[in-house]
């Protein structure tokens, strides 16, 4: 497996009148070819910000402060917008945005909206584009007649399939999926997950799968990046996080404890008290320390580095160095 995307010490801040919101604060990770990486964390931890940053379109007033995003070894941050549009966005990396299925234009047919996406990023002649649309609708399990329908005539699951087809048109290598099943029922969610696994094999895709649901990540992600307050606190393989040994970082542990299990009998559901910190002035030391039940003196003073606790398993917690 070779590296497809490499994020190095990325910092992206939202510059506001109250100060810089440090949404992404020194993040590094690597995505291998054919791999699915899961980004998990509570709302406001920077998962979506990281997704849009990789696509080179941070939501205003977002600014890149430092770091690199290497796609095939080329840093995309300094590239001109024209270049990104022609060669990177949707050609190499595409994204299924959160709630995208509800952002289809209600007054256009599905076919017309799909055509728009193709025209925006390529010079394909119209008949070819029409064939391409029908071909991709087939891949996501929809009938070609759907092109004449309007979004309100489709169910949530069908709309999500349309949006996924639109992300795949230009044969990207990486697809960022931001909460693609959050608004859907469990059965439709399971169907979409199956579809994504199938498409991944068929097209040799690599995914970045963003969600707050650790149970869902277990179904699809080869590796997990757990984010808290703009930082990665743990990176580990599916087996390392969900296996017998369990996660390394107390935050991941608590998050996993708060995930409801259908078949495991537990008297009390766990939860994490408190709320994530303000990212304009994050707490001193470890950012999770105010909510952590294992925190000790050092946690409130110094920020723990991300260290390898076993091969391929990194965690940022002072407990690992306490012995």
């Amino acid at each position: 497996m070779n590296s497809l995307l490499k994020v190095e010490n990325l910092q992206m801040h939202y510059v506001t009148s109250k100060g810089a919101v440090r949404a992404i604060d020194d993040i590094s990770f690597e995505l291998m070819r054919g791999e699915t990486i899961g980004l998990v964390g509570e709302s406001g931890c920077g998962k979506t910000s990281l997704g849009t940053s990789i696509l080179r379109m941070p939501t205003p007033p977002g600014r890149y402060i430092s770091g690199k995003i290497l796609v095939d070894g080329v840093d995309v941050i300094p590239l001109p917008e024209r270049e990104v549009r022609r060669n990177i966005r949707w050609q190499k990396i595409s994204m299924v945005f959160q709630g995208a299925m509800n952002c289809l234009t209600p007054v256009y047919t599905i076919g017309r909206q799909m055509m728009e996406t193709i025209n925006e990023h390529s010079d394909l002649p119209r008949p070819d584009a029409e064939n391409l649309i029908k071909e991709y609708l087939g891949y996501v399990g929809l009938a070609p007649e759907i092109v004449q329908r309007y979004p309100h005539e489709l169910s949530g699951g069908m709309k999500q399939r349309v949006v996924i087809a639109m992300a795949l048109f230009l044969r990207p290598e990486i697809v960022i999926l931001d909460e693609p099943t959050t608004a859907l029922d469990v059965i439709v969610q399971a169907q979409i997950i199956n579809l994504l696994k199938k498409l991944k094999q068929q097209f040799g895709l690599s995914f970045i799968f963003i969600t707050h649901d650790l149970a869902l990540e277990a179904e699809i992600s080869d590796r997990l990046c757990v984010m808290y307050a703009g930082k990665i606190v743990e990176i580990g393989s599916n087996a390392q996080i969900y296996g017998a040994q369990g996660p390394g970082h107390p935050y991941t542990e608590r998050l996993l404890g708060a995930t409801p299990r259908l078949f495991k009998k537990v008297e009390q559901l766990q939860f994490i008290p408190g709320t994530p910190p303000d990212l304009i002035a994050p707490p001193k030391g470890c950012r999770f320390s105010p909510r952590c039940n294992k925190a000790f003196d050092r946690c409130f003073q110094e920020e723990p580095p991300l260290v390898e606790i076993e091969p391929g398993h990194m965690s940022a917690c002072w407990l690992h160095q306490r012995g």
């Binding site: 277990a218 969900y242 009390q268």
Partner: protein
């Protein structure tokens, strides 16, 4: 029965689709009614948490609205404390709503952003013309805030909704219902918009309040995994009908209807070793439109176990199996045996 607080009998709600003038003249264009609720019956016991589960389009929210008397049923009856409340005068309705309160799904939309928390909680007292002095009202507000663990109450009373997190807002929404001393709460997906990390906290709070005050809940959700901890009994709805009803642990550990089985199979579990597997779901496609309910058993179009009888013969009624466990599937036993064989092999 004295221990039943709410009883719903053969309730139906059909919505007439909008028709233009020309459509109503041309008979051929006659649209079918949307059968959102197609004959459901259930009892909620005093001090019980009753879960209503189903996909979107199954009619669970409509049921909640009918119970709240926000919609008029097409037919059927609702009894509250043994009294028929299906049709109520304006005054009686107000009295009923004081006893049966609702917690809505979206804590960001259910509060006036220009009201301080104190005003949010005072509003029901004004609407229901609760005679009390200012001090007495403040006392009631403080008590309600303490019940939902928003402490110190004085501090929260002066805050605006935008200063609170989703979980805190849902606590305020609960306090707002408690201030009128209700007997029953209808909670429509109260935690679906709250982060997983704090979801359990809100459910704990709601359960504590329920135990302390001896309330009954109608808990509407699509999330089976929280229902297991939170509810005493569960009714599973499909296309406007209840297909299975029983104690929460029976429904989840021993589901008898194939639809319930599919719902359970689809729930993701946080265990390793599932990335390479494409999960085979024991269900086809998506839920049909309630304007076009399939003939025979309404689930047969999606059921992997369906036979000709399921398609052609009349819809099976709920039948009792074991203690308090009802299902509406004519092949329940055969399917059960088949599943066991599969699991063993």
């Amino acid at each position: 029965m004295t221990d039943t607080i709410l009883s719903v009998k053969n309730l139906k709600k059909y919505f007439e689709p909008h028709q233009s003038f020309t459509q109503s003249i041309a008979r051929s264009g006659q649209k079918k009614p949307i059968k959102a609720i197609d004959g459901i019956s259930f009892d909620i016991r005093r001090g019980e948490i009753f879960g209503l589960i189903g996909e979107s389009g199954s009619g669970k929210t409509t049921t909640g609205k009918l119970v709240m008397k926000l919609l008029e049923p097409t037919s059927g009856q609702i009894f509250f404390n043994g009294e028929d409340v299906t049709h109520l005068s304006k005054e009686k309705l107000k009295e009923y709503r004081r006893k049966v309160q609702m917690i809505f799904q979206d804590p960001y939309a259910s509060m006036n952003p220009r009201f301080k928390i104190k005003d949010v909680l005072e509003e029901p007292l004004i609407i229901h013309k609760v005679r009390a002095t200012i001090e007495e009202r403040t006392k009631m507000i403080v008590k309600a805030l303490e019940e939902v663990k928003l402490i110190p109450p004085d501090e929260f009373m002066g805050r605006w909704p935008h200063m609170l997190s989703g979980g805190q807002r849902q606590r305020v929404a609960t306090a707002r219902t408690l201030i009128l001393n209700p007997k029953m709460l209808v909670a429509d997906e109260p935690v679906s918009m709250i982060d997983l990390s704090t979801r359990a906290e809100i459910l704990h709070m709601m359960k504590d309040v329920q135990k302390e005050l001896g309330l009954s809940y109608l808990y509407i959700t699509h999330d089976l995994s929280t229902a297991r901890y939170f509810t005493d009994r569960i009714a599973v709805m499909y296309l406007g009908r209840i297909v299975e009803i029983g104690r929460a642990e029976d429904i989840i550990d021993n589901p008898l209807h194939p639809y319930t089985q599919a719902l359970i199979e689809a729930v993701p579990e946080p265990v390793t070793g599932k990335v390479e597997i494409i999960k085979e779901l024991p269900i086809y496609g998506e839920i049909p439109s309630p304007a076009n309910i399939p003939q025979g058993c309404r689930f047969h179009t999606r059921c992997p176990y369906a036979t000709d009888a399921c398609k052609n013969e009349p819809e099976p009624e709920l039948t009792l199996d074991g203690e308090e466990h009802y299902h509406a599937c004519r092949r329940a036993y055969e399917i059960q045996a088949e599943r066991k064989r599969k699991q063993a092999g």
